[in-house]
């Protein structure tokens, strides 16, 4: 992607809570229309990084540029073009869904937002006038996604956007994220759901101990840091026996022996997953 397509650039970000360093030299860029997955274990520094990127925390060091604007000098302008889905369902329970959206639209200085259309996009068209206190967890989650879209953001931050959603709702939210990226919004996604990160992210950054340990396309990460396996099932003395063999130099001979033996039932190859990569980095980070 061209350099002028960069929507968000974080350069050598550092932040400490007292003596504890939470973010230690994080740098990355997200392009327009790109979805970046930010993955890592709890306490890795993801939330602190996001808070700096959305202007809630001022970095101790480093710089943030959003849509060509410097966060240090144009925070208000940047926040006007950013949407955020927080991990907490931080809505006003005694306001209706529509009133929640209308309130945030006013904070963005917008008065002609199609709130009903927005509610319809997240499947809340018929519940928009009900108070949020009567919403299920999934409905609240969908409303926080709608709220993040109220200003039609150019950069979208999503922290666990499908947490607590049923599979159908989760799928509709993922479709919505793709739509937003499709219209050109840069998306930063934080999730513990590795399948979701794999499905949505163009690139994934693994972060641990406040540092980015790897940043690449999911396929590339899986190839570089994951371990493909072969699962062989055989019938041995009347019972089904399963063996898992890693695809490497040592495993080739074992695999050849298993496949050539009598009683072979099935052979399945399994690709490495992002979860394997996550464990690889989290484990190494925790050593």
């Amino acid at each position: 992607m061209a350099t002028n397509d960069v929507a968000l650039r974080a350069d050598d970000l550092r932040f400490s809570y007292g003596q504890r360093r939470a973010v230690d030299g994080v740098s990355f860029a997200v392009h327009r229309g790109e979805t970046l997955g930010l993955l890592g274990p709890n306490g890795a520094g993801k939330s602190t990084t996001i808070k700096m990127l959305i202007g809630l925390l001022t970095p101790d060091d480093g710089s943030i540029e959003v849509l060509g604007m410097d966060m240090a000098s144009r925070r208000t302008d940047i926040q006007g073009r950013v949407g955020v889905v927080f991990e907490e369902k931080n809505l006003y329970p005694n306001l209706s869904g529509r009133e929640n959206l209308a309130f945030f639209a006013r904070l963005f200085g917008l008065r002609d937002v199609d709130l009903d259309g927005l509610l319809a996009r997240v499947g809340l068209a018929d519940r928009g006038r009900d108070r949020v206190s009567g919403y299920s967890k999934g409905m609240r989650q969908r409303l926080t996604v709608a709220r993040a879209l109220v200003n039609r953001p150019d950069v979208l931050f999503l922290d666990e956007p499908t947490d607590g959603l049923d599979p159908v709702s989760a799928r509709s939210i993922r479709a919505l994220i793709r739509e937003e990226a499709g219209r050109g919004a840069a998306v930063v996604l934080t999730t513990h759901d590795m399948h979701e990160a794999d499905a949505l992210s163009d690139r994934v950054a693994f972060i641990n101990d406040g540092r980015i340990l790897a940043l690449d396309a999911p396929e590339q990460l899986k190839l570089s840091h994951g371990q493909p396996t072969v699962r062989v099932r055989r019938r041995v003395n009347g019972a089904v026996e399963e063996s898992v063999v890693t695809v490497d130099a040592g495993g080739a001979e074992q695999l050849s022996a298993l496949v050539g033996a009598e009683g072979l039932l099935t052979v399945h190859t399994e690709e490495a997953t992002l979860e394997d990569v996550f464990v690889h980095f989290a484990g190494r980070g925790l050593e």
Binding site: I54, G55, L56, T76, D77, Q79, G80, V82, V84, F86, E88, N90, L91, Y92, P93, N94, L95, E99, F103, F104, R106, L107, F108, G109, R147, N151
Partner: protein, 368 residues
């Protein structure tokens, strides 16, 4: 400027809506105004100035009335005693024990008049009801000695000079302050303090539910959020203060001055409300912190109920100026000229509380 105004009005509108939809706030507000307003009118508007005492003086009622009724009893009544004569000691005892109409009694023995006239020692029983004012006992003892001396024809050993009384300040002789009037500052201030709780709760909920974080992820600044909370808190406290002041008749005299005191009082409690709300934990924590602030703030209003000079440390409390202005205008008929030092003190405390409240809350919101 336009953006700030838009953000502040949006937040105020949202908070007003939330306030109106919270049954607890609405119930407490309506109940508070109704109860305090009603309580004011239920309290006695008059003061019973005379302390009723009973006297049993066997066999000498006529003499007593002739000798003392003309002078002594009139004087006694002027000094706040209402005397009833009883035919027997048992009737007197019974009446004092009942305590309904009598606070105390003097039971003179048989032959008291003769003994007193002859200068012989005799014993007079002083009967006191359980709720009799403590200071009544020495007064009655002195009265008995004076009666005995008068009957015996003795003159006091010293000649007392004529007294030239001068009342410094408002002379309330014959116009004592009723309990209702004494309670007025307390009732008005309690309504303001109630708003302190409500604001603290609104602010704390915003922090605890992290909705403040969502607001600050938009172009809204911390200062705008605080300004909205402060304006709403002050307006609610001031509005309700005006209502309770009107209900209790505090606006009948110098309404402008009372309104100014209410506005500054509202600013003061709003500052403390923001401070209590900054704790932002749960309802119990809010109640705890609010109570810590509530008690010292209410002391000056309670002090009005106990006449006498106010201790220096009470005068130093933030709400003292507010109570003084209210007492001065509604009871003593004071105006701006007399009230301005207290108004200035109240304003200074209000600014200090406001500054502390907004500073602590801003820090709390930024850390959330």
């Amino acid at each position: 400027m336009g953006r700030t105004l838009s953000a502040v009005t949006a937040i105020i509108g949202k908070d007003l809506r939330l306030f109106g939809r919270d049954r607890f706030y609405v119930l407490i507000t309506v109940l508070g105004l109704g109860m305090f307003g009603g309580l004011f009118w239920l309290l006695p508007a008059d003061v019973e100035e005379d302390i009723p005492i009973g006297i049993h003086l066997p066999g000498a009622e006529a003499l007593f009335e002739a000798e003392l009724g003309a002078r002594g009893l009139d004087e006694a009544t002027q000094e706040g005693l209402a005397v009833d004569l009883f035919a027997s000691a048992s009737q007197l005892e019974e009446a004092v024990a009942l305590g309904d109409t009598l606070h105390a009694g003097l039971d003179f023995p048989e032959g008291f008049l003769e003994a007193a006239a002859a200068g012989q020692p005799t014993t007079v029983r002083v009967l006191l009801a359980g709720d009799a004012p403590h200071a009544l006992r020495p007064a009655l003892t002195a009265a008995v000695r004076e009666i005995a001396a008068t009957l015996g024809g003795d003159q006091p050993p010293v000649t007392l000079p004529d007294l030239d009384e001068m009342v410094v300040g408002t002379d309330r002789a014959g116009d004592p302050v009723s309990l209702r009037e004494q309670m007025r500052p307390l009732l008005v201030f309690l309504v303001l303090l109630m708003e302190m709780f409500a604001l603290a709760s609104l602010v704390a909920v915003e922090i605890a539910q992290r909705t403040a974080t969502a607001v600050l992820a938009t172009p809204t600044r911390v200062g705008q959020l605080l300004a909205a909370k402060a304006l709403l808190g002050t307006a609610l406290a001031f509005g309700q203060g005006l209502v309770i002041a009107a209900v209790t008749g505090a606006l009948a005299q110098a309404p402008g001055l009372v309104a100014a005191a209410l506005l500054l009082g509202a600013v003061l409690v709003t500052g403390f409300g923001l401070l209590a709300g900054a704790t932002g934990q749960d309802f119990v924590a809010i109640v705890f912190w609010s109570m810590l602030l509530f008690v010292p703030l209410a002391i000056p209003a309670f002090a009005v109920l106990f006449p006498g000079s106010t201790a220096l440390w009470i005068q130093a409390l933030p709400s003292h100026g507010f109570v003084e202005v209210l007492v001065g205008t509604t009871i003593d008929g004071e105006g701006w000229a007399q009230a301005w030092p207290n108004l200035a003190l109240l304003a200074a405390w209000g600014v200090a509380a406001f500054a502390a409240g907004t500073a602590v809350l801003a820090g709390r919101i930024r850390r959330a």
